[in-house]
């Protein structure tokens, strides 16, 4: 499980609509807003990196979004898998 904190910026006039639209996205929660500057902090939860990046693209695609970038990541507990020699190396 990956959890990331994302900064989203929209025109101040759109902040309420944007908050609603963001909350409607799967795995996305709006936690803080700053109406005077149009800045919104969302937290996104996703199973995989791929889902996380796809979700970021969805945020960027919302109308009026001027910026959406990841600021904070917390990583899942996947154990390191570095012990084996990769098959492709052994075979070459």
């Amino acid at each position: 499980m990956n959890i990331s904190g994302i900064l989203v910026v929209v025109p101040p006039a759109r902040i309420e609509d944007a908050t609603r639209e963001l909350n409607a996205l799967p795995g996305v929660e709006v936690h803080h807003t700053e109406p005077s500057t149009g800045r919104i902090v969302v937290v996104q939860e996703a199973e995989t990196v791929e889902q996380e990046i796809a979700a970021l693209s969805r945020i960027k695609a919302l109308s009026g979004v001027m910026l959406a970038e990841m600021v904070y990541h917390v990583f899942d507990e996947t154990p390191p898998e570095w012990d084996a020699i990769p098959a492709e190396m052994a075979a070459s």
Binding site: M1, I3, S4, G5, I6, L7, E29, H31, H32, E34, R39, V41, V42, V43, E45, T48, V49, E50, Q51, I53, A54, L56, M66, L67, E69, M70, V71, Y72, H73, V74, F75, T78, P80, E81, W82, D83, I85, P86, E88, M89, A90, S92
Partner: protein
């Protein structure tokens, strides 16, 4: 993770995010953030994924990275990161991470045709030394080579440079940065006499205009691009221009998009220079006080071999252009020649391409005179579907922006200019435009060369890991520079080799023709990223040679190697990078490397223990060496002089070069570590602080010589987020050459004090007319450079342009970013972006699998006509991240003849259905 714990974690992440970007939060929220993070150890680091150099904060727990965040205190990115920043920790934990040395063996012995087999470090170094000595005894210092990187840590690049140049007496060391910004370097040296930009990223917040020249900043430098977009939000007068060969993400945020044909950037810049003169917009006082005018030869070839002995049959027609060229009509006009006549020109200055001489303003003016709006618009218009009038209006608008004396302006560029058969010229031309206007070296007015790699500046350039360089902008072929270096390194006189070594493409060519037979590759994937790869893959596998690759993952280069050495990555070691704005940033080791992986620095030092002075400091044959004070073709035996200095023949290079009394004075452990480990020191089994000692030794070269770095410990202070050199009396230098900000300016308000090439003969556009040299200290050069056509252009057979570049999700050859499997799936295989109508014309459509063929090879790919890159008719684009779609098999290995940087942007191809 149970639900309540997860919800709590999320509130903590939200609060920490808000705090990182300066949004006020409640006391309860900030307490949640603090509690989430309470068990983690935080420390500062630098993103390793591009030359922007964003600060990140890294949290570790039990020897693993558990979280990262954009560093709110980092002036570069102010808490933001782009999506690549996310991989700084992920990249350490890929499934196929290499963790032990692997050698090709059969029946327990090294065999070039054998299978990769795990070996111990001792076995690995022993074989490496046997093979080294074989090549070195037979061929001398020119028979070996090292291919390094702009991702080398400062200390790694420095140690390898010292080992190669002082130890092995070989200049055959070159970084992949050669193919990233060598053209920028050559132009900096020729124009200013010193490397790296006058300005810095803060120019963005002071400017009214940003012009991106062939730089898709929105994808390649996203955090910087964000600063550009932010500036526009807060500054109504701000204008953004994207000059490009295809529509891309950067176009989205731009006010003006100008689509041009390949290489016509040169014509466009001459049009701007001409307009500035015509409109009387030259800043005369600035030019008179601070500039001279220059020209150089135009018959300089394309950096290819002068022989077609090794060329594939299909390559020979283009190869022949290295010797003789018939000018195109546009080239003739641009040179002021009669376009109705045929001009066939021998490329007589191929080996002396960097010669140049002083000319007068009137010569310059005559040079740019042919570049009228009509001529340039017709030549440069890149989108067949745009009307000529509309295109002309855009060029006029561009000239308006540049010429407006009240408007501040930043020009940004990267690979579009640098990877160019006239890369040095086009870099020089943009300086010419800024210098004519006096828009340079002050906040908001800045010609700014961006870099792709995290330490292209800090290591490749500043340390000088190129085949011609020594630290602090010095070069091997100037006696005074060798003297200084020999004294600093405590070497006997004439240890250093005065003959410039092989650049990266030449190392590959040397492998092919057998003049090099031992190569060590570090932090780099050259068998994938050097153009015309089919030649080099074959040379590596089929010739009698030994190739060592230090890598973290099984890259293509690792796979063609004979010996693979597993490396520690970024935060598994102590190190430092320097970004594109001269900002040096250092970090601590955060987590231990996996298995037996060890730092590149440890590998360099361990290997140096296996070679003695007697083996290298004896007389050496250097074919072609001709230099004052040297016997032709020879480096002298310096062992006798060395013995007088206290060295012995049996001493190892480790003892002579690295474990010196000065270096041993830096003790480990050191309080600056604050409890962090150092596996390099531990594995060496020493009690001196290797990274600190080497940093300080290296910094000695630049202090007092325009390149001052702060003391090692200063970079580790909690309140420091990197410092922009020169750091003088504890203060960094935001803008160079300007007395207000730069303590090195001694005369007047502006002084271009760089010392290289500041004495020249005088002539006109055709050549020198005097032999007497004139000195012009403190001045910068305004070059006239004519338009030159690409070395190969589409014809009836290869009928489409191919340009290569990178995408946001992937980085360079993708050895690292591709390791994150989910990310790879997001961009499943390399696609060829092309225009829908071009596809239709060939009976193809979106998603069709096609063969792409050039004179040098063919590969399969899938075509895309609706992607985020939208090429105009006749043009196509492909990213070079994918190992399975090997685009560099197609690309030509022509280079800028001055910088030796390859042109990955212009290959003629044809495509047909699989």
């Amino acid at each position: 993770m149970e639900l309540s714990r997860r919800n709590f974690l999320k509130s903590g992440v939200a609060a920490a995010t808000a705090m990182a970007v300066g949004i006020p939060v409640s006391r309860i929220a900030s307490a949640a953030a603090a509690e989430t993070e309470q068990d983690w150890r935080w420390d500062k680091g630098v993103c390793r994924f591009c030359g922007v150099g964003c600060g990140i904060m890294i949290a570790t727990q039990d020897g693993k990275i558990v979280a990262t965040k954009g560093d709110p205190d980092a002036p570069v990115n102010r808490g933001l990161n782009c999506v690549k920043g996310y991989f700084n920790s992920k990249i350490l934990y890929g499934k196929d991470r290499l963790t032990q040395p692997l050698m090709r063996m059969t029946d327990g012995r090294f065999d070039k045709q054998g299978k990769f087999t795990p070996v111990t470090w001792d076995q690995a170094f022993d074989e490496m030394a046997i093979q080294f000595k074989k090549a070195y005894e037979e061929k001398g210092p020119t028979g070996i080579g090292v291919i390094g990187s702009g991702q080398w840590l400062i200390q790694e690049g420095y140690a390898m440079t010292k080992l190669m140049k002082a130890g092995f007496r070989s200049n055959n060391i070159d970084p992949n940065a050669r193919n990233c910004m060598a053209s920028a370097v050559a132009a900096f040296m020729q124009v200013f006499g010193i490397d790296e930009p006058p300005g810095n990223y803060d120019d963005i917040e002071y400017t009214d205009t940003v012009v991106a020249w062939g730089a898709n900043m929105a994808e390649a430098h996203p955090v910087l691009w964000q600063r550009v977009i932010d500036r526009r939000l807060g500054h109504s007068d701000m204008k953004i221009v994207n000059i490009t060969t295809l529509r891309n993400m950067t176009s989205e945020g731009s006010d003006l998009e100008i689509i041009i044909k390949p290489n016509t950037d040169m014509a466009l810049l001459n049009y701007l220079a001409r307009e500035i003169i015509q409109r009387d917009a030259v800043n005369q006082a600035f030019v008179d006080a601070h500039c001279v005018f220059c020209a150089g030869p135009t018959d300089i070839g394309y950096g290819m071999r002068a022989t077609d002995k090794f060329a594939f049959a299909a390559e020979k027609d283009i190869q022949a252009r290295e010797v003789e060229v018939t000018l195109t009509r546009d080239e003739a006009i641009g040179l002021g020649l009669d376009p109705e006549q045929v001009h066939t020109i021998k490329q007589a200055n191929a080996a002396t391409a960097d010669r140049h001489w002083l000319v007068g303003f009137e010569d310059f003016k005559a040079g740019v005179a042919p570049y009228t709006l009509d001529f340039v618009a017709e030549l440069a218009k890149g989108d067949a579907e745009e009307s000529l009038d509309a295109f002309k209006a855009k060029l006029v608008r561009l000239a308006d922006l540049y010429a407006d004396p009240k408007r501040k302006l930043v020009s940004f560029w990267t690979m579009g200019f640098n990877q160019h058969v006239r890369g040095t010229w086009v870099n020089e031309q943009i300086y010419s435009v800024h210098l004519l206007l006096g828009k340079i070296a002050e906040p908001g007015n800045s010609p700014f060369s961006l870099t792709g790699q995290p330490s292209a500046c800090g290591t490749a350039r500043e340390v000088g890991t190129f085949s011609h360089r020594l630290p602090a902008d010095m070069v091997v072929n100037i006696a005074k520079h060798r003297d200084i270096t020999e004294q600093t390194w405590k070497l006997p006189p004439k240890t250093l080799n005065p003959k410039v070594g092989s650049h990266i493409t030449k190392i590959m060519r040397d492998l092919e023709d057998g003049s090099i037979s031992w190569v060590w590759v570090q932090v780099n994937n050259p068998f994938q990223h050097v153009a015309n790869a089919n030649h080099w893959l074959k040379a590596a596998r089929e010739n009698d040679n030994f190739i060592v690759v230090s890598d973290a993952y099984p890259s293509i280069s690792a796979k063609v190697a004979d010996l693979i050495l597993p490396v520690a990555m970024i935060f598994e070691k102590w190190g430092g990078y320097g970004n594109a704005e001269r900002r040096t940033q250092l970090w601590r080791e955060q987590v231990p490397p996996p298995g037996e992986a060890r730092s590149d620095l440890w590998q360099i030092l361990e290997f140096s223990k296996r070679i003695t002075l007697a083996e290298v400091w004896k007389e050496q044959a250097i074919p072609g060496l001709k230099d004052e004070g040297f016997e032709e073709g020879k480096l002298p035996d310096v062992m006798a002089a060395a013995q007088e200095m206290g060295y012995t023949p049996q001493m190892t290079l480790y003892e002579a070069l690295f474990e010196t009394p000065q270096n041993k004075a830096f003790a480990w452990p050191d309080p600056v570590a604050k409890g962090h480990d150092n596996h390099t020191v531990k594995q060496l089994g020493v009690d001196w602080f290797v990274e600190k000692a080497l940093f300080e030794e290296y910094a000695g070269f630049g202090r007092g010589h325009h390149h001052d770095l702060a003391p090692f410990d200063v970079y580790y202070q909690d309140d420091v987020r990197g410092l922009r050199w020169p750091v003088v009396d504890g203060k960094e230098t935001p803008w160079r050459f300007n007395a207000k900000y730069d303590p090195y300016v001694k005369n007047g308000e502006i002084e271009f004090y760089g010392g290289a090439m500041k004495e020249l003969v005088t002539g006109n556009l055709n050549g020198p007319t005097t032999e007497e040299k004139t000195k012009f200290p403190g001045k910068a050069k305004i070059f006239f450079r004519p338009y030159a056509a690409p070395v190969e252009s589409p014809d009836g057979n290869y009928d489409l342009w191919l340009c290569t570049g990178r995408l946001l999700e992937h980085w360079h050859t993708g050895t690292m970013t591709r390791r994150v499997p989910e990310l790879h799936r997001a961009m499943p295989s390399a696609v060829l972006d092309m225009n829908e109508k071009d596809a239709e014309e060939r009976g193809l459509k979106r998603q069709d699998a096609v063969w792409i063929e050039s004179r040098r090879g063919k590969i399969k790919a899938v075509i895309e006509t609706t992607g985020r890159n939208r090429p105009p008719r006749g043009y196509s684009f492909m990213a070079f991240f994918d190992e399975s779609v090997f685009v560099n098999k197609l690309c030509i290995d022509a280079t800028c003849p001055i910088s030796k940087e390859e042109d990955f942007k212009k290959t003629a191809i044809k495509i047909y259905k699989v």
